[in-house]
Subunit: 223 residues, 2 copies
């Protein structure tokens, strides 16, 4: 149980995120400046912005995270694999891929797993986080998905895209943490707009938080 | 001006669409059966379902449409090109690609155009429709986008993904038709849930309608 956390430690768990469609070059530049200023763990940007973000963050410790198969997860597996390769070539440090939700519902677990392994291989040693989009899954599907992620070679399971019908809950984070155990990563994302929610997600077991409200969160945390 | 249209002609303009994340194999199969029964122009499915849909529709006239860079349009250009190639290899007859909205807003028109030309080339003679996501664009941006689509070698301009903050309006369809002229394709998509809306879109200039409500629309049209 984490009772409180200082703003610096909190910042180190935040992936400063800008995935809204139509985001501009100047918004990406501002995101990167804020991430450096507040010592966030990473920025998270769309595939077409990886080169820009990587150039702006070349000097420091802030990682570049990007997304694959985002936000629906229903691309062709080979297209997801290639999108991962391109992201790595462009300078991405970490890959957040959306699991194929329909195939999970179809019970095609071996296909879901194979696709994830291909992405992990294409990521070439870089951490892969697998987005479940918990709002679309039953409890059983969440558990099955976590087990596939554990087998895939990925390093994190992640609750949500932030663009679903609803976002990952504290209960989702608790469930994911319970299934994957203490040695695996859990990223909470979607709807984390204030310090209280951020702290609740961390107490529930999240190592990383994906949020577009990181600046406000660290300013008010511990105040 | 089209005053009325018979149900068969209406059906020939409909792309029977299932792009909801988490759609299952059996839902895709039902979509294809309905498209054959009602003589829709096409089904529109996500990338991972193209092989299944193409197999189910091999015999008839119903085309397989799929999406690229969907729904945000902010993938890396090379990943979009490859996603198109994979779709063609898997049996897609037509490609609906989302334009890079952020780059349009950045004023990087030549980059937007180059990306579209790459997708058109990868589509290898198959019709390409370019989705503008009009709800995110100013009037000036819609006009600039249409002109780029005209130059790209694509065959249609399309209003919306159906997953944006709002959907393309009758006024959007009128504006797009006005800019691209009579010899180019206009596809209306998003929020077309009844025959009255379908007819309004056709009267405004739409050649094709993307909708998940096609069965209900043709059943009530002309009644």
């Amino acid at each position: 149980m984490v009772a409180t956390i200082d703003p610096t430690s909190l910042a180190h768990r935040i992936e400063h995120t800008l995935l809204r469609p139509g985001a501009t070059r100047s918004e990406v530049a501002q995101l990167c400046r804020e991430a450096i200023e507040h010592r966030f763990a990473a920025v998270c940007v769309s595939g077409c912005r990886v080169i820009e973000a990587a150039a702006l963050l070349e000097e420091g410790d802030v990682k570049v995270v990007t997304v694959v198969g985002f936000p629906f997860g229903d691309m062709d597996p080979d297209a997801k694999r290639y999108e991962t390769e391109v992201a790595v070539d462009n300078g991405a440090d970490e890959i957040d891929v959306v699991l194929n939700i329909g195939r999970l519902k179809d019970g095609e677990d071996s296909r879901v797993l194979r696709e994830l392994r291909d992405v992990v291989e294409a990521a070439d040693e870089r951490p892969v986080k697998v987005i479940l989009e918990t709002c679309l899954l039953t409890r059983d599907e969440k558990i099955r998905a976590c087990k596939l992620v554990l087998e895939s070679g990925a390093q994190y399971v992640k609750t949500s895209t932030g663009f679903g019908a609803s976002n990952g809950t504290v209960e989702d984070v608790q469930l994911l943490r319970e299934i994957v155990g203490d040695a695996f990563g859990v990223k909470a994302a979607g709807g984390i707009r204030d310090a209280a929610t951020a702290m609740a997600m961390i107490r529930a077991g999240a190592d990383r938080l994906g949020t577009s409200a990181g600046v406000g969160i660290v300013r008010t945390a511990g105040v």
